[in-house]
Structure formats: C-alpha cells, structure tokens
Amino acid sequence: MNPIWTLLPPLLVIPFIIGFGERFRNLREASIIIAGIWLLYLNNQLYNQFVAGNAITSGELPLLAHFSLKLSVEPMGLVFGLLASFLWVVTTVYSIGYMRGHDEKNQTRFYVCFSLAIAGVMGAAYADNLLTLFVAYEAITIATFPLVTHAGTQKAQNAGRLYLGLLMSGSIALLLPAMIWVATAAHTLDFVPGGVLSDVGLSQSATAVLLALFVFGTGKAAIMPMHRWLPAAMVAPTPVSALLHAVAVVKTGVFVLLKVVTYTFGIDMLSTTAAAQYLLPVAAFTVVASSIVAFTKDNLKARLAYSTISQLSYIIMAALLATTMSVTGGVFHIVTHAFGKITLFFCAGAIMVASHKTEISQMKGLGKTMPITMGAFLIGALSIIGLPPAAGMWSKLFIAGGSLEANNLIWIAVLMLSTVLNIAYLMPIAINAFFEPNKPSDQSGAPLANEWQEAPFASLWAIVVTSSVCILLFLFPQPLMSLIGSIQWR
C-alpha cells in the first residue's frame, strides 16, 4: 500500500460535501464519516504493514531539482496519522451535534476546509523529507485559515489576520531558511535515522542558530513569542478549536520539531553539543508563563488555549532534550495531550451549546445539569495535569525521565511546577461545576434547571469516547509505546 492513498479520503469527500451541500446535510455528514472511517482503515492498513516489517513509500514528485515530495511510513508519523484520522471521525460526529445545535452558518465551507486540513495533516504525518513536511505545513495553514475566520465577525477577522500573518511570516522567514540551510549544508532534506547534520561540520553556534530557526519558525508549535495566534484562533467554532488547535495544527508544529530533532539533527548530535541549551529555557519559560496566563483567563476556551501553549512546550522541551526517552515521551505526549485537550474542548463546546456559557465563572454548579460533560472534563483535566487515572501521567513521566537522561534536573522542576499550576487552573472548573452549591448563576438571576440539560447526543457520544480513551491509554499504554519504541534513533 502507498501512503499517498491517505490523502484520498479527505480530498475525495470534498466534491460530495459540496454536492450535497446544505440541502442534504445528513448525506453530507454521512459522507464525511464514511471518508473518516475509510481513512482510519487506510491508516490501520499502514500500521499493519509497518508492523509486518514492510518498507512503505510513495513515488516522488520532484518539486525542486534535487528535492522531491515523497511520502513514507515511520513510527512517529504513524502515531500522528492514526491519531488524526481517529479523531477526525470523532470530531465529525461531534460537530454534527455542535454545528446544528449552534446553528452555524456556512457549514459546507466549514467541512470542506476541514477535510483539506486533514489531507494536509496526512501529508505531514507521512512526509518522507523536510520539504514535504514544509509543504504540508503550509497547506495546513492555508486550509485552516477560513476556519478561523468562520464566524465572520470583526474579532474573527482580526484573529484570522494574526493567524495567517504569524504562521506565514514565521514559516517563510525562519522555517524556510532553516530548511534551505539544511539543504545547502547536507545536500539532502531526507529524514534519516541518526540525522544528516552530524558530519557536515556545523559549529556549535551554527547548530544553535539553525535549531532556533526551526523552533521559532514552526509557529504552530506556539513557543513564546510565536504563540499569539493560538488564543486568537479560539474564535473559531469549537470543533475547529478541538481538532485543529488541540490536535492537527498545533501537533503538526511539534511534530515537525520532533521529526527534525530525530531525523535531521539526530539526537546524538544534539545531545553532544550544547545547542539546545539556549532554547530549553525559552520552552521552559513558555511552559510556566502560559500556565500562569491561563490562570488569569475567565473565558474557558482562552484558558484552554493557553494551556495548550504550555503543553506544546512540554513537547518542545522533550524534543530539545534530545534523548531517546524524552523524544519517546514527546511523541507519547502528542497522543495523550491530544485526547485530553480535545475532550476539554468538546466539553467547552457542549457547555456552549447546551447552556450558552463561555465564562468559567458562570459554570459553577453546572455539574448538576451536565454531569456527563463535566465528568469527562474532569478526566480530561486529570490527563492534562498528569494525574492518574489518565494517560497524561505516562508521557509526563517519560519527558521528565528524558530530562534526567540529559542530566538536567532543572527541567524536571519546570514540569513539576507546571503540574501544580495545571491543577490550579484546570481543576477549579470541574470542581466548581460539581461542588459549588447550585445557586443562580445566570445574569437574569434565574436558577439553573435541575434536570439534565446535556449537549446533543452526537456531541455527548464524542465526549465519552475521547475521555474514555484518556483512561484506556492510562491502563494500556503498551501497544502505543511499542510502536513509538520502534523509532530508529541512529
């Protein structure tokens, strides 16, 4: 099988989406779900073949003279591909409930852009070289832009401006030269186990600069000060925030960094030079600072956005630590954070649909009317914090372990501090929902209804699935770990 097929379902479904349009919206959404399941099946096929030990590559498209577009399958990408395709199905189911419940406009355009973005993610996941990854990265930026501005309000437009401006300038001004630098120095952009830069004679400072170009240029990874787009992009409909700004888009960012660290620099090279030492403090600062900012936000999605920034920098730290354990933890964290954060976003959307609340201070006592949603929120929050019984704990353990492998305790301290901060800003939401006495919290002063008032069934179903996965991954991380464990380090 050829990884290029994974681009097909999300692209092929687009004519169907447009064709069915608003008039046959059941058919439209059904076609997306079918495409999603097909995509998941294809990814699973890739997984099976990979496990069977087959090398899986696509043909080449020579974009530049010596550098072509090419796809191939390796463990990191497989993890990302499986994750994104699984969550695409779930998110589609969720958005059916959300978009209808919320009466969103232009749903057809929404679904088209969504599918395009997923195609981009597949391209990124299975990119065989840096050029392909870069191209997919840019494609995702452009495909998701209309989603950010979906609401069409002034605020959405400002956000879209910032989104496109920051991501595009970052990738053109920093990521592109980094890639060209690699091409010039190593004469190849391929991802090779052990990296391609180890014997091209880059000095330590040059390595540091190159690494910095990658880290800051990958604006989607949202390291400070490249993070501003992410909170702004929260004006998008919640399913977008959920899949794109908790999974697809931001994870593409950190995925780029993990790939580059593993297959372009090579962890041996990075860990023997001090190049990453200059950047680790920035990532650590991002972890802590954005947690603190999150703490001050009363808007739920804004708080989740800053939480995402903080969590992404965990993975950036993992990449920069450049040990087998930390990178393993980083890839693992992509998955655990994805499930945790998407649950939280789903819940935020469900709350918005069912009770029209966006501010955390209005959500007190909500556990009475939306017990399933808020219960799932608690699980998601535990996963993000890294507490049992949720999967976030394992990835955090590995990243911390990686910090030790790199003989640096201070980064553990950062993770620990962030854990405590995470509790401070996530737990109150769930807890206040359940334990705040049920007092009138509406502006009008009307008491909350005492019977269940949950989100539409489709959305609820998605929430239950993702939160269950948080727990399942805590109990059974082994299959995922063995897949990540098959990364070739050198």
């Binding site: 191209v135 592109l176 060209i180």
Partner: protein
C-alpha cells in the same frame, strides 16, 4: 524549409501582422489578427525551444549574409525559453485584452493599439533572438517606441506624462546602449556578439571597453527598472491600459534583464564583470536595497497597480541578486525567477484588470468584501499573491528557495536573510489587499450592483490559464530549474 527559417519567422510574423492590422482597421478583426499572429509566434517559439533542446545552438544568418558582417540570429538555451515565455504571455494577454480594451479605449483606435502591440512584441522577441549588438539597439527602439504609444493609450490624462517620462528615460537608456555599442565597435571592430566575446579580451583599448561596459550596463539597468533607476516604471504601469501593464510587467523588463545577462556574461565574460569591473559593487546593493525599499513602498500604496509596480521593482531585485551572485546556482535562481515572476506578475495584473473592468479603478479601500461580488477574480489574485510571497506549489517558492540556497552556498548569509525579510514584507502588502477583499465591511459606496458581478469569461479564462501555468511550474519546479540551470551553464561558459 520552414524549420530552417524559424528564427526569422519569430520576428517576421508579428512584424508583418502590424501593417495587416492597420489595413484591417475593424477592431474585432484587428484583435483576431493579433491573436492569430501571436499564437503562431508561440508555435514558432515552441519549435525553437524543442530544436535547441535537441540540437543545441541554432545560428541563423539573416538574408544569407555570413556572421561577422551580416546580422546573425542566435538561439540557445538562454533565450529559447524566454522566447517561449514572452510570446506565450503576450498571446494570453492579447486574448484577455479584448473586453478590457473595448471598454477603455475608443473603438476607432483599436487597430492602432493592436498594431503597436505587435510591433512591441516583435521588438521584444528581436532583442531576445538577435546575436548582433547593434541589432539589439534597433529592436530595443522598436519595442520602446511602441511601448510609449501603448502606455499613452491609457484613458487617464496622466498616462501621457507617464509615457513622456518613460520616453525621456528610455531614450537616455537606449542612447547609453548605443554609445556603449559604439565604443565596443571602436575598440574591437565588430558588432556580432560572438565575435565581440572573442575580441574583447585582447582589445586594443581597455579603457574603451570599460566605458562601453559602463554605458551598456547603466542603459540596460534603466530599461530593466533596476533600483534606483526604476522611477519611470510606477507611473507607466499605473496609468497604462491594464492589459498593457500586464503585458509589459511580464515581458519588457524581463527581456531587458536577458540582454543584461547576455552582455554581462556572454559578451564581457564573468571574469571581467565581477572581479575586474566591480559590477557587484553596483548590482548587489541595487538588488538588496531594491527589494527591501520597494517592498516597503509597496506596502503603503493604495492603488493596486502602483503597489504591484513597486512589487515588480522589488522582485527584479531578487533576479538581480541572483545575477550578482555570479555562480551557477545564483544565475539559475535569477533566471528561474525571471520565468516565475513573469507569470505571476502578469496574472496579478490581469486580476487587477478584471477589477478595473468592473469598478473602473483599483483603489484598495474600495475593494471591501470584494470576494462576495467577484469571487473568481479574488481567488486569482490571492493564489497569484501567494506565488509572490513564495508559498510552496507556486513558482515563487521554487525560485526563492533556489536563490536563498545559492546565497547561502556562497556564504552571503545576510543577503539570504534579507530576501526573507522582503518576503515577509510581501506577505504584508499582499495580505493588506487580501484582508480588504475578504474581511472588510463595505466602507465606500460601491457602484456595482449587489450579488455576483464577475468579469467576462474572456478575461477570466486567459487569466486562469496563466495561473494554471504558473502553478504547473510551481509543482513541477524541477523543470524550470533544469531549464534555468542549462541557461546558467550556457551563460557562465561564455559563447562556445
């Protein structure tokens, strides 16, 4: 028979089409003749392109007079692709021009307009194909004079002053070139380029060669609108009929750049230019300041044509930067950008033309929410704009990648960085337009009726053909790069 006469046909077809158009007089007929002639040109250029690829250099002695004495046409891997490019762009723009011209120019003058166009085209193609230094000047004058006329067709009164200023500057440039050629002839006794290339290293008067070099390069810099000699361009592009602007943006400056390349590398030789004549002391700063300052200027323009004009100067800066690297990779990048920028910028001007067709002007603040009324035009503008920024799958990405890579290879890190800075500036100036098109609520009263109000299909189709072409070259970028690489090899190797 025809095959051997192809180089001559390349010039003769448009040249003879001009009087034919004048005779035809009726505007539709004039347009059809121009279109047909132009497409024949494309065919000829295509054949030449194939031939060069198969057989290598084609030398054609005009009228049967042998080389050093007679005028020689000379097709190699450097100019063959450009012949194809210029004739194709011209053909597409002519096809596009029909409605635009009909609306903006008095119908009694249409035949003159198309005749001038054909003359201009034959001048440009002549500059490309000729192997004779003096002949270059002749064709330059043909194209220039017809260009002044074309610009003057603009229905803004300022078009006349713009045309006049261009005329003064263009004439200065042309006369500089003439002076330079004169000096060359005095020093070497030859006008044939191949001949010159061999004679220059052992010429009698070195000073005469140096003076010739200075005059020729300054003259060509004026014609190519290299910063800071670009000042004629903004007004000319702004006030000319939009189809003329589109045509010129894709062809005129590019052809002049080709001539510059020819003289610098083929005639004078690399060694001479860059180590002896310190050309990079002039060209490199001109390039770098050009793409930086002009990009900034473009940001603040409110008229789309003017913005794109300054953007053109900036993009020419990239090309010159590639040339001033004087390496295989650098010239490859510069050459590739000639091709890519020609396609992209023409497409951009065409989309602006569509806007003007409906709105009567292209003032940015009145484009609010244009996506609602002219979606296809806006999409065309955005896609081409992405090419200007250098997003993957567009030609801009290919040439910019190669350019930065080339400057890094040579160790000119700073220049590579500045190219990127200017790319970010491009994001800003394109972004400002896109922003207005997509997001702004209507601020100025819009003369157009509500609902869809696209430009006619005859404008949209050619525009999208061109965009398709540029996207094709963005996806199959290695084809551009192969062609450019061959050209660069040819240029650096000198005449052989």
């Amino acid at each position: 028979m025809i095959a051997t006469q192809l180089p001559a046909l390349q010039i003769i077809i448009p040249l003879f089409a001009a009087p034919l158009i004048v005779l035809a007089r009726r505007s539709e007929l004039a347009w059809i003749i121009a279109l047909v002639a132009n497409f024949l040109c494309v065919l000829v250029a295509w054949d030449l392109f194939q031939l060069v690829n198969e057989q290598g250099i084609i030398r054609y002695s005009l009228g049967g007079w042998a080389a050093p004495t007679g005028i020689e046409y000379f097709v190699d891997t450097v100019n063959a692709p450009l012949l194809l490019l210029v004739s194709s762009i011209s053909a597409i723009v002519v096809a596009y021009a029909y409605h635009s011209v009909k609306k903006s120019i008095d119908s009694t003058k249409h035949y003159l307009f198309y005749a001038a166009w054909m003359l201009c085209l034959s001048g440009l193609l002549g500059m490309l194909i000729t192997g004779d230094a003096f002949n270059v000047f002749v064709f330059l004058e043909i194209s220039s004079l017809s260009t002044y006329m074309l610009i003057a067709f603009g229905n803004d009164r300022r078009a006349l002053t713009a045309s006049f200023r261009y005329l003064v500057l263009g004439s200065i440039g042309a006369s500089f070139i003439l002076i330079g050629i004169g000096f060359l002839y005095a020093a070497t006794g030859s006008l044939n380029m191949l001949d010159l290339a061999q004679r220059i290293p052992n010429a009698s008067s070195e000073r005469a060669i140096l003076v010739a070099f200075s005059f020729i390069s300054i003259g060509l810099m004026i014609k190519s609108a290299i910063f800071p000699l670009h000042a004629w361009l903004a007004n000319a592009y702004h006030f000319a009929p939009i189809s003329v602007t589109a045509f010129l943006a894709g062809t005129a400056t590019k052809v002049s750049l080709y001539v510059l390349l020819r003289f610098l590398f083929s005639v004078f030789g690399t060694q001479y230019n860059f180590e002896y004549l310190l050309l990079n002391v002039i060209l490199l700063p001109a390039a770098v300041f050009g793409f930086l300052i002009m990009s900034v200027v473009a940001i603040f323009q409110t008229d789309l044509r003017r913005m794109l004009a300054y953007s053109s100067v900036a993009q020419i800066g990239y090309i010159v930067a590639g040339i001033s690297l004087a390496t295989q990779a650098g010239i490859t990048a510069g050459y590739a950008h000639i091709i890519n920028h020609a396609l992209i910028k023409t497409a951009l001007f065409m989309s602006v033309g569509c806007i003007i067709y409906r709105l009567g002007h292209a003032h940015r603040p009145s484009l609010d929410n244009l996506i609602q009324t002219m979606p296809l035009t806006c999409v065309a503008f955005i896609v081409s704009g992405l090419g200007l920024i250098g997003v993957p799958f567009t030609g801009g990405f290919i040439s910019k990648f190669t350019l930065i890579s080339a400057s890094m290879e040579k160790g000119w890190w700073v220049m590579g960085g500045l190219v990127l800075v200017s790319s970010v500036l491009a994001i800003i100036y394109i972004g400002r337009v896109v922003d207005v098109m997509l997001f702004r609520k209507q601020r100025l009263p819009n003369p157009m009726p509500q609902g869809r109000n696209e430009a006619p299909l005859s404008m949209l189709v050619p525009m999208y053909v061109l965009i398709g072409l540029s996207l094709y070259l963005g996806v199959y970028g290695s084809e551009t790069l192969t062609v450019s690489g061959e050209a660069a090899k040819q240029l650096l190797g000198g005449f052989r």
